[in-house]
């Protein structure tokens, strides 16, 4: 499937991944993330139960300490 991931096209060999699977496939390793799927915030506890479908727009923002 093809999705828009952080403003870029991303292709995955399998269809029907969860957000948690996308995060692990892409090696997004930071502990704290902000995730929006098609504009809606998806909290960490829902990453494993939220499915990403072909054509979706997914944003994964890495949050690093410092400010």
């Amino acid at each position: 499937m093809k999705i828009n991931l952080n403003n870029r096209e991303a292709t995955f060999e399998v269809t029907d991944l969860t957000i948690a699977e996308v995060i692990s496939t892409c090696n997004f390793t930071y502990k704290r993330l902000v995730v929006r799927l098609n504009g809606k915030v998806v909290r960490s506890e829902d990453h494993e139960i939220t499915r990403v479908n072909d054509g979706d727009k997914l944003e994964v923002i890495h949050l690093m300490a410092g400010g």
């Binding site: 952080n6 930071y30 704290r32 902000v34 929006r36 690093m64 300490a65 410092g66 400010g67």
Partner: protein, 199 residues
């Protein structure tokens, strides 16, 4: 003739920007926005100014011990006496964020801890949908990792996306200042999108 700078300042008088955290990002970003003339600046922080803050934050020796919001309000008015500063000397939570920043066109995320950045971002994006959130992430140390800006709907992220603060990689004035200025510039770019120059 009124200068371009003055016309921009006059235009910005009607806008409101929220600053979540008056540390390295927040204090420097707020000063830049005050200089350009943003009319209403809402600052929230529960901390006091400490000597260790002066390596990067926009405070002065004689302000050590003052609440950061009070010290920053003083400094903003030293730069621009005509702006309105609203201070909130408490910890921001999901309960008070929507109310304190309700009037803001833009909210600057300027926390230091990653879990707090996450809490603020999730709260603002869900509960203040009309505001644009401008976050900072990746600014520690003194390497020359390039900075980037990612722009999404109502969400902008500025930083090097790589260098996290830890014991060996402290926050220092130049890179913290750069990200604070990137956030301020993104704010101006949004606020001035319909600005037209009068000849």
């Amino acid at each position: 003739m009124i200068t371009v700078i003055q016309q921009i300042a006059d235009y910005l008088r009607n806008f409101s920007v929220g600053i979540a955290g008056a540390g390295g990002l927040g204090s420097n970003c707020a000063i830049a926005l005050a200089r350009t003339g943003v009319g209403n600046i809402y600052i929230a922080d529960f901390d006091i100014v400490e000597a260790s803050n002066l390596n990067r934050q926009y405070f002065f020796l004689n302000q050590i011990g003052l609440p950061k919001v009070e010290a920053l309000a003083q400094n903003l008015h030293q730069v621009n006496a005509s702006i309105n500063v609203v201070s909130f000397n408490e910890r921001l939570t999901t309960d008070n964020i929507p109310e304190f920043f309700a009037q803001c066109n833009i909210i600057i995320e300027a926390f230091d801890k990653a879990d707090q950045k996450q809490m603020l971002a999730e709260c603002v994006l869900q509960k203040i949908p009309d505001a644009t959130l401008i976050m900072g992430t990746g600014l520690a140390g003194y390497k020359t990792t390039p900075f980037q800006t990612s722009r999404f709907n109502k969400l902008i992220v500025c930083g090097d996306m790589e260098n996290e603060v830890d014991e060996l990689n402290p926050p220092m004035a130049p890179r913290v200042g750069i990200v604070a200025m990137m956030q301020a510039n993104e704010a101006l770019n949004i606020l001035l999108k319909d600005f037209t120059l009068k000849k």
